[in-house]
Point group: C2
Chain length 259, copies 2
């Protein structure tokens, strides 16, 4: 990646995630898709800006998806696309777009090829239903496709399937420059480095500096994470921050502490 | 708990969570507070209905908190209450309520008692700031208090501190009946039990039946989770579902599979 100092500001592509499922909100299941989506999208040059966890209630899904798709370049949903009566994501997305839910011939063909003769029951055929005008998102690993309607990408909740479908969604995603990050860790609490960090951030436009406290071996430490799109600016900011920490008598450890 | 069949429907208490932090949205940090909050609130008779992950941007926090506090009995926020410049939750909550952010004398006293003489710096004093009219949430384990303004409870992001502050919030929370759950697992995919599950759910008003597929030892299985507030109705629904599964020739395993 090269950097032109006087180039116009590149476009930033944004995304949001709607995690659909009572099992997340009840605490039964720990979401494992948000972090994977965030990192994958960033590698494609798209920034995850918001996430919502919504229950298996049609009106809630419709409202969340409509709010998010108006605001971000891309919206991803996870969960609720299986064959049972509580899988209402496809119905809800169709409602959100005001289109009927129809059987997709390619999705049906995939299911027909997948199940032994006679085993594609009415219930399983439910999984071939896609909002009218929707496109299938192929799943290069297992069979079950997700689908795309407008800027909304509908994926499974099971992490292994979600990840495969996300790979299939790649072809539809246009991104910009990825956010790059560098981390330096210190064995002092946040309040020791607060002023220094704020001052360093002000010296480097385009770089966000975040501080993340942690407990380790019974005492506080802080990870300082620098994030920005321009690698040269990021390197300069990192070097400057490390120099400022050292000048303040604080020992620095490149990267995150590994426990 | 006793059950009166003709009693009026008890009030349901609801809550939402706003997870504040760029580090969650970047995928750097995995949220560990949602599931704990959901389970704890449920044990207090409050149902977590929605969660949002919002970035460290004041306008975003204000909008999310105002949307959620108008809609749910209680709103919890996690993250962004430390001493550094990117900790903007207290400022944002004050903006959301349209009140000034002021130094809370009790919070200041806690900090003064905590730090050695001369070490309560300007930066650390930031942590004593609370929206006007706010009440401190005591932290029975470590020192740092959270605070409460109206129906909004502002807690730390670090799980150990968040959990202690949540205990301190207990006194402000009025709840109803907890949601109880029972689980039965089967070694067949969701589509095999979809019809049977939907039929069983229709026979038992007040019970939600969810199905959660999983991979285990190379094949699909499904956990069937029944949830409801009336223990007698829940037991009857569970017994009925188990009988229906057995009658369909499907082996049942009480509870979740443990791997």
């Amino acid at each position: 990646m090269t950097t032109a100092n006087n180039a116009p500001t590149p476009r930033i592509y944004t995304a949001a995630l709607a995690i659909i499922g009572n099992e997340i909100l009840s605490g039964r299941t720990q979401d494992a898709n948000l972090a994977h989506l965030a990192k994958t999208l960033n590698s494609w040059g798209v920034e995850l800006r918001e996430a919502r966890v919504v229950p298996d209630i049609e009106g809630e899904i419709v409202d969340a998806v409509n709010a998010l798709r108006a605001r971000y370049d891309y919206v991803f949903t996870t969960g609720g696309i299986g064959p049972t009566h509580d899988d209402i994501t496809a119905d809800s997305i169709a409602k959100a777009f005001g289109v009927p839910l129809v059987e997709h011939s390619d999705a049906l063909a995939i299911l027909e090829a997948h199940y032994p003769p006679g085993e594609l029951t009415v219930v399983r055929r439910r999984m071939a239903r896609v909002p009218e005008g929707g496109e299938l998102i192929e799943n290069p690993i297992s069979k079950a496709p997700g689908f795309k309607v407008g800027n909304v990408f509908v994926l499974a909740g099971i992490p292994a399937i979600m990840r495969a479908q996300l790979e299939g969604a790649r072809q539809f995603i246009e991104g910009g420059r990825s956010v790059l990050s560098k981390t330096v860790s210190v064995e002092v609490g946040e309040s020791r480095i607060a002023d220094l960090l704020e001052t360093a951030e002000k010296r480097h436009a385009g770089i966000d500096m975040g501080s993340y406290p942690f407990f380790r071996r019974g005492s506080f430490g802080t990870a300082l994470v620098l994030r920005g799109r321009d690698p040269a600016v990021l390197e300069a900011a990192y070097a400057d921050l490390c120099a400022a920490l050292t000048a303040a008598g604080i020992e620095i450890h490149p990267g995150e502490f590994q426990d």
